[in-house]
């Protein structure tokens, strides 16, 4: 555009607005992000009350604090503070800078007339003022600092104003362009400081933009992208997952899983530089000692490793599991630091095992996670989970050569006196704290497990089956467990229109409702209708962990997984009474949905319920999935009460045809028959749709008895 003349904002009056908006756009969402309450379940769950502190508790707590600091989002907080500072500065600048308003040319103002003067009055005013202000008539008055030019200018302005109001053409110009002289040059205000636009600085500005676009942008995007690519969906480095995959074996043991997790690359960040093999001999000496209790197989596996970092990691892991004192504080803190990383890598192993669908490695992986959290050796007694229980105590209880360990539930079911006698060498306060912890362990005891289809009395092939597991949380050692109420074992289908219950949502109404304070369960309620169990009691594990229960079905004979695991982290009814922390024995329900196999028959499954944080609190239940023919389902449906259809609908007419005796619409017999056929087609279509729509949360694996094992070295 020729004739355009850009006015740069050399007064700097628009620049602050621009910067203020931009920083505001970035800072305000970031503020919300860092101030938002952390909704992680590990932060909202209650804790098991216990005053037990293991020997190196200070090191463990230091690890916890370090982890918290890492999660603290320091960079974001600093960015937010900076943003607010810049915004405040801009606001200050805005207030301080004198505003230079662009003047709107207003003829009325120039002439000192009100808006409502008529044309006649304006003409009269013009004549009068020409007498007063015309330069020929007036002398410049020195006292008012008037010169000839100012007088001329003033007269020109006034005559322009008069023309704008009286003369058509000028008036049009004024209306269209805001100035009587017609189209003016464009005046564009650009909110940039003159510094950037002035002559010599152009190349620096260009250089700055080139750096941002060509260097900083690719670097930032690349770093972010490769960062996201580097982790699997479990949050594990891909290279680590690859190495763990190579360690997978069908006959792997818990010790093998632990050894597999030691291959992770995450440990390289933990043990850097000289720490990668410092103290290795010391650690190995303590775990090779027979008091540690490691098995020959595990020790020989450790001996075969040549990579010093991996060897140290595995040695530290075994030292952690065996609860062996290493003597050196640095080594001790490293020992407590490797356990959470191994736990994370174990998740990766679980995913790999799930892909192979073989039960034994999956079970080994879940048991390994239990042992890592509780810091127990694979064949150690579950009683060591209680505070102040040492291997010596356990030996005193079980005898020196016990073949199998006494389970926690069994120990706690002994009468109080004999229990106390067995652990005679423990002080009273220690024993009391151990019992307190035992009485708060969430042991899920299955009362009933069955299959059902919502809205149907019979399970048909490829139907959406629900596995309903009903049980109660009965901590070990609780006497006077009430009998199971039969009514609790029923699972009522929600009403047809109740979308919330069908989809498993909490209803909008109950979500908005505030928890009632005087209800006894208020203390453990964090969201409506979802009760969180207390965090796992794991004094040696340097992270907060909320226990998870996994339910899956296996085919016992083939040793394969039938239905992949469903994970549950919360319950629908309160577990403990807030007042005195006694268990409520409410019947809890777990529901898993999967697709039934397409064949008719009886399928015998073994249902495993595994808690991932405590050793020895698992249950297995034999369940039978009875898939019956579609015809049986149809027979059952007709027993449902369907109201009689209205007479004037198609259904009513069909009813009339079938039952007879309705108003005679026999003429439409032919048409009705054609419609009948159409309806049948529609029904078939609907069935097909149902099959497609059914949720493939998990599919039942087909079991083949003729499966021959492939070549194995």
């Amino acid at each position: 555009m020729s004739g355009t003349d850009y006015n740069y904002d050399d007064n700097g009056q628009f620049f602050p607005f621009f910067v203020l908006t931009l920083t505001g756009l970035v800072t305000l969402p970031l503020t919300y992000n860092i101030l938002k309450k952390n909704e992680d379940i590990e932060n909202t769950a209650p804790r098991i009350q216990s005053d037990f502190k293991p020997k190196h508790d200070d090191l463990i707590q230091a690890q916890r604090r370090a982890q918290k600091r890492k999660e603290f989002k320091t960079k974001r907080t600093i960015a937010v503070i900076l943003g607010y500072l810049i915004m405040a500065w801009m606001v200050y600048k805005i207030i301080v800078t004198k505003r230079i308003m662009p003047k709107i040319w207003d003829p009325y103002e120039i002439l000192g007339l009100s808006r409502s003067t008529s044309e006649q009055a304006i003409k009269k005013h013009k004549r009068l003022s020409s007498l007063k202000y015309h330069p020929d008539k007036v002398r410049p008055d020195a006292s008012k600092n008037e010169t000839v030019e100012t007088l001329n200018d003033r007269w020109v302005e006034m005559s322009k104003a008069y023309s704008a109001l009286l003369d058509e053409e000028v008036r049009n110009n004024w209306i269209q362009y805001g100035h009587p002289d017609g189209k003016q040059s464009f005046s564009i205000g650009i909110a940039l400081p003159k510094l950037m636009i002035s002559e010599g600085n152009g190349k620096y500005v260009l250089l700055f933009y080139a750096l941002i676009l060509g260097v900083a942008l690719p670097y930032v995007v690349g770093k972010w992208w490769y960062g996201t690519q580097a982790l699997t969906k479990d949050g594990v480095i891909i290279a680590s997952a690859g190495k763990i995959f190579k360690e997978y074996k069908e006959e792997i043991t818990i010790g093998g899983v632990v050894a597999a997790t030691s291959t992770g690359e995450e440990f390289q960040q933990l043990l850097k530089g000289s720490r990668s093999d410092a103290g290795l001999s010391k650690v190995e000496k303590s775990i090779f000692a027979p008091e540690a209790g490691l098995s020959e197989q595990d020790l020989s596996r450790l001996k075969e490793i040549e990579d010093p970092l991996r060897r140290k990691v595995l040695a530290l892991l075994w030292a952690y599991l065996a609860r062996v004192d290493l003597g050196d504080d640095t080594l001790e803190s490293e020992k407590y630091a490797v356990a959470p990383i191994a736990f994370l890598l174990n998740d990766s192993f679980t995913s790999i095992a799930l892909a192979f669908s073989v039960v034994a490695p999956l079970l080994a992986s879940y048991h390994a996670s239990q042992h890592i959290i509780q810091a127990l050796l694979p064949d150690a007694s579950p009683l060591l989970q209680l505070p102040h229980f040492t291997p010596k105590t356990v030996q005193a209880i079980e005898g020196a050569d016990a073949k199998s360990h006494m389970s926690l539930q069994k120990f706690m079911s002994l009468p109080q006196s004999s229990r106390r006698r067995l652990v005679a060498d423990m002080s009273d306060s220690q024993y009391a704290s151990a019992m307190q912890v035992a009485r708060q362990m969430p042991n899920f005891v299955v009362a009933k497990a069955f299959f059902k289809v919502i809205g149907d009395k019979v399970i048909t092939p490829s139907a959406l089956v629900q596995l309903v597991v009903k049980g109660r949380i009965i901590p070990p050692g609780i006497q006077h467990v009430p009998e199971v109420n039969e009514a609790d074992l029923e699972d009522i289908d929600p009403e047809e229109g109740d979308l919330d219950a069908l989809l498993g949502r909490k209803s909008a109404k109950s979500r908005r409702k505030k928890p009632i304070i005087d209800e006894p369960t208020a203390g453990f309620n964090n969201k409506e209708n979802s009760i969180q169990p207390p965090l796992a009691h794991a004094p040696y594990f340097a992270r907060n962990h909320s226990p998870r229960w996994r339910v899956f079905l296996t085919d016992a004979r083939a040793g394969r997984i039938g239905v992949p695991p469903f994970t549950f982290t919360e319950f629908d009814k309160p577990i403990f009474n807030a007042a005195d922390n006694t268990p409520t024995f409410n019947m809890q329900t777990f529901k898993c949905q999967f697709q039934a196999p397409p064949q008719v028959g009886q399928f015998a499954f073994k249902m495993h319920l595994i808690c991932d944080s405590y050793v020895g609190l698992d249950s297995t239940v034999d369940v039978i999935l009875d898939v019956q023919d579609m015809s049986k389902a149809a027979v059952v449906e007709s027993e449902d009460e369907i109201s009689e259809p209205d007479e004037d609908t198609l259904a009513g007419q069909m009813q009339a045809m079938k039952g007879g005796g309705a108003a005679g619409k026999r003429k439409k017999k032919k048409a009705v028959k054609a419609d009948e056929e159409e309806e049948e087609e529609e029904e078939e279509e609907e069935e097909d749709e149902d099959e497609e729509e059914s949720d493939t949360d998990g599919e039942v694996e087909e079991v083949s008895d003729t499966d021959t094992e492939t070549d194995e070295e």
């Binding site: 190495k243 291959t263 075969e304 490793i305 990579d307 991996r310 073994k606 070295e713």
Partner: protein, 228 residues
Amino acid sequence: MATTAASDIDLDTYTHLPLQIDPATKTLSLHPSATASSSPDTSLQAALSTVNQLHGVLKTLDTPNSIPPHPLPTNLPTQKRTAQITKLREAASTAFRKSQFAESIRLYTFAIDMAASRPSWEPVALIRDELSGLYRDRAQAHMGVRDWVEGCKDCEASVECKRPQGEKGKVWWRGGKCLLEMARYAEAAQWLERGLDCEPGLQADDGREMRALLAEARRKADQFTASS
């Protein structure tokens, strides 16, 4: 068969092993002057013995160029080794029926050694099948001389080779009986439960004996814990 850990196969580094080869028999071994450190020694020895064994078997082949024969059983019945094993097996079972238990055990042991030392290109499923049957029958022979411990071991080995076994769960019954006779009641109950889980088709009459045994094991286990 010894296998090296996946982490030891490092394609980037070359490890020079102090090996030597015997010029006459062409067997590999570690150089005697090498200072054997504890960790690589056992796995290295195992690997060397595997190589030597393989070499030995390859030498005895009568196929042209000493190439291993086709693994699929095209002319299986004529294979020397299988024929020998079958012969030994039959001899052992006749000895068992004549109550010559020691002889039977000896023959079964021979058969097992032959079956276990088959070269590695033979089909694994077949070997496992064979071995599981041999272990199962040897367990029975051990039970004949009331050697419960060995019987138990053989039952476990049989199950390890092949599961599920079919054969109406004989191996489970035998293992359970051995454990019961050793007064390990709880373990017997566990073993039998495992058997009932694993084997198909034991719901009806076929499983009757096993269930009876299981009931007995449970009863005795309860008695034992009650008295202790």
